[in-house]
């Protein structure tokens, strides 16, 4: 790898960029939806971990990656009920609930993994999903191997972002979701069930985060490892802010961090004189620097994270 030419290097980074941005894209598309409805879901990281673990368990035991992905989405969605109940319905501090949820999810998946597959021995692995070949497009120079030879989930992630943008901005459902997140009182007066909208958006978020976490297993690692998400849930939270809660901008944001991630993976093997740790921390540094540059006074939904009293005074 040490003698890769520069164009080949750039091409390789671009190819990985698309793949590595997908988990962030799934998770942040979900998060935008729940935050638009006014719920600050710090538990994104935990939902991703649950998705990653479930996808391995189900894919490995049934031999079907599709089932594994579905199960990851379903369990990710169901797990949000904890946060919805305590953070929305019982009006506890959503940040604290989300943080504890993350500790719980990490602990529980690690515990179950060790119990089911043992501490030592061979780690269960699954075959990662294949990239697709689009006749014609995949054979294009440059664009072919980078953009048009990814796995289906990568395209699905982008498509869902676009769909989320459409729903939020062009449909009545989107209008209702935004109303619930901007001014719950008024939304309630207009006959909307605020809690129900928030719970539904949280289920969607959990489903998306579950798929995002599963992506790490079924499309990248092929197995479940400790700290598999490595803070991607928190990076996705930052992307949500950076994108100004706009699913289209969010695609660009996810690509940026995908690129940083791809760069650090590739650059480590290039044998620069810079210590490899500098590359490993690159995605996190990029997040913070972009928050610094673009995150100032991002237009957050007005009722984000606030407790909502039904019969308010």
């Amino acid at each position: 790898m040490g003698n890769m030419s520069l164009p080949a290097f750039i091409l390789a980074v671009c190819t990985s960029m698309f793949r590595l941005s997908a988990p962030l894209l799934f998770a942040s598309t979900g998060e935008i939806m729940s935050e638009k409805a006014g719920v600050s879901n710090i538990g994104l990281e935990g939902q991703m971990i649950i998705g990653a673990f479930t996808s391995l368990l189900v894919s490995y035991e049934t031999g079907s990656v599709t089932l594994g992905l579905l199960a990851a989405g379903v369990f990710g969605a169901l797990s949000t009920l904890v946060i919805t109940y305590l953070g929305v319905m019982r009006k506890q501090n959503q940040s604290v609930v989300g943080l504890m949820f993350n500790i719980l999810a990490t602990g529980l998946t690690t515990y179950l993994y060790r119990m089911i597959y043992g501490v030592s021995g061979v780690a269960p692995t699954i075959d990662t999903i294949k990239n697709i070949h689009i006749p014609g497009l995949s054979d294009l120079p440059v664009l072919g191997p980078t953009v048009f030879s990814q796995n289906l989930l990568v395209y699905l992630a982008i498509a869902l972002s676009v769909a989320a943008w459409y729903i939020l901005n062009k449909t009545k459902l989107g209008l209702c979701i935004r109303a619930v997140g901007e001014n719950p009182r008024a939304a309630q007066a207009a006959g909307l069930d605020v809690i129900r909208y928030r719970a539904a958006c949280m289920l969607f978020t959990g489903f998306m985060a579950g798929i995002g976490g599963a992506f790490l297993v079924v499309a990248i690692n092929g197995r479940f490892i400790d700290d598999i998400t490595a803070g991607r849930g928190y990076i996705a939270l930052a992307i949500t802010i950076l994108a100004g809660w706009n699913p289209l901008t969010e695609i660009a944001g996810s690509m940026l961090f995908g690129a940083a991630d791809a760069l650090q993976l590739r650059a480590q093997t290039l044998g620069f004189s810079i210590p490899y740790q500098a590359f490993v921390m690159l995605p996190y540094v990029v997040v913070l620097v972009s928050l610094l540059l673009f995150g100032r006074n991002a237009p957050a939904p007005r009722a984000l994270g606030m407790r909502y009293e039904k019969e308010g005074r």
Binding site: Q92, L99, V287, L288, L291
Partner: protein, 352 residues
């Protein structure tokens, strides 16, 4: 109204909720152990009794109380002002790096325990710098201090990884660790052949200072007002953004002291796993202890028992140590649930 009696009443009415939450979490944990094929009574015996019956485990427990207590104090300072410091792991790392730089220098041999003063000063400064970054993001960019402080953990982990494999690596070792702290500068040992050290007195001393500062001084009162209501604090002339930066800096600085202490006791050198995820456990200690000095002390002892006991449980019963994280999170979630039910009862009364 006297603020002390108020806080005491608050604690006493919440105590049953906390105890119930602990019991329910333990029961759920027992169910989890049972369905995964273990023996819950045996596992819990090892979890709760070993730290008191085995010499080395008792030492481990005492030496674990110290960082948990210090971190929880740091976290509480920020939490009082309405800020959540999730950067404990990174701040411990930064404090540890600072202390190792000072306490493994040639000056340490000559100065002995006197080296602790510049050592802790630097540990505080390094931790404060790390916490301050999150505070500044909160104050000036309006980014969540939760996300920023957490992401900083990952950056700190890479910094220590580099230092211990590069400039700070001890000579003649193959694992990433720093030079030893000279014996003259060690924290005095409390129990022979264990890691228990005098740092625990330092931690409890800090807790007293924290209690007095937070509940007996004007500044402490201001900070607590800020946590209760941003608006009220504004009318009272408290500048929010200034306090965001300052509080996160002080919070990070205190947590950094825990990192410094870890270098002076225990392994007597900087190791890569210095934070050992205690940054999060410290948040749990602060929350379970309701940010109150007595509560924090009790919660720190309890969490130290869980932390040390779970290691023995894993060795003896093969129940994964991760159970500790499950119990810890369940406890806080059930406490929040209990409080929310209390809140409702109070509201109904008010309504009547």
């Amino acid at each position: 109204m006297n603020s002390k009696s108020f806080s005491e009443r608050l604690l006493s009415s919440k105590l049953p909720v906390i105890l119930l939450a602990v019991i329910i979490s333990m029961l759920l944990g027992a169910i989890l152990i049972s369905i995964s094929g273990g023996s819950a009574p045996a596992a819990y015996r090892q979890l709760f009794l070993t730290p008191f019956t085995t010499h080395s485990a008792t030492g481990d427990m005492l030496s674990t109380i110290t960082p948990l207590l210090i971190i929880a104090i740091g976290v509480s300072v920020a939490q009082h002002g309405g800020l959540t410091n999730l950067g404990g792991n990174g701040q411990v790392v930064m404090g540890g790096i600072a202390m190792a730089l000072v306490a493994t220098s040639p000056a340490a041999e000559a100065l002995g325990p006197l080296i602790w003063i510049p050592g802790f000063l630097c540990a505080f400064l390094f931790g404060a710098l790390w916490g301050m970054i999150a505070g500044a993001f909160k104050a000036y960019i309006h980014s969540s201090e939760i996300i920023v402080s957490l992401l900083l953990n990952y950056i700190a982990a890479q910094i220590i990884s580099y230092l211990l494999r590069g400039p700070m690596m001890a000579q003649g070792v193959t694992v990433p660790e720093s030079e030893l702290v000279p014996e003259a500068a060690h924290m005095p040992t409390l129990m022979a052949n264990t890691s228990a050290n005098a740092g625990i007195f330092f931690a409890f001393g800090l807790l007293v200072i924290y209690g007095v500062f937070m509940y007996k001084t004007r500044t402490g009162y201001k900070i607590r007002t800020l946590g209760y209501s941003e608006k009220a604090a504004k009318y009272g002339g408290v500048e929010k953004s200034k306090y965001d930066v300052l509080l996160m800096a002080v919070s990070g600085g205190i947590v950094g002291l825990a990192g410094g202490m870890e270098v002076l006791g225990g392994q007597y050198r900087l190791v890569e796993g210095i934070a050992n995820n205690m940054g999060f456990t410290g948040v749990v200690v602060a929350l379970v202890g309701l940010l109150q000095p007595v509560g924090i002390a009790l919660a720190a002892v309890f969490m130290a028992v869980l932390t040390v006991g779970s290691k023995y449980m894993q060795i003896m019963s093969k129940v994964p140590v991760a159970l500790k994280d499950v119990l810890e999170a369940l406890m806080v979630l059930f406490i929040l649930w209990g409080f929310s039910l209390n809140l409702k009862r109070r509201r109904i009364k008010e309504g009547n």
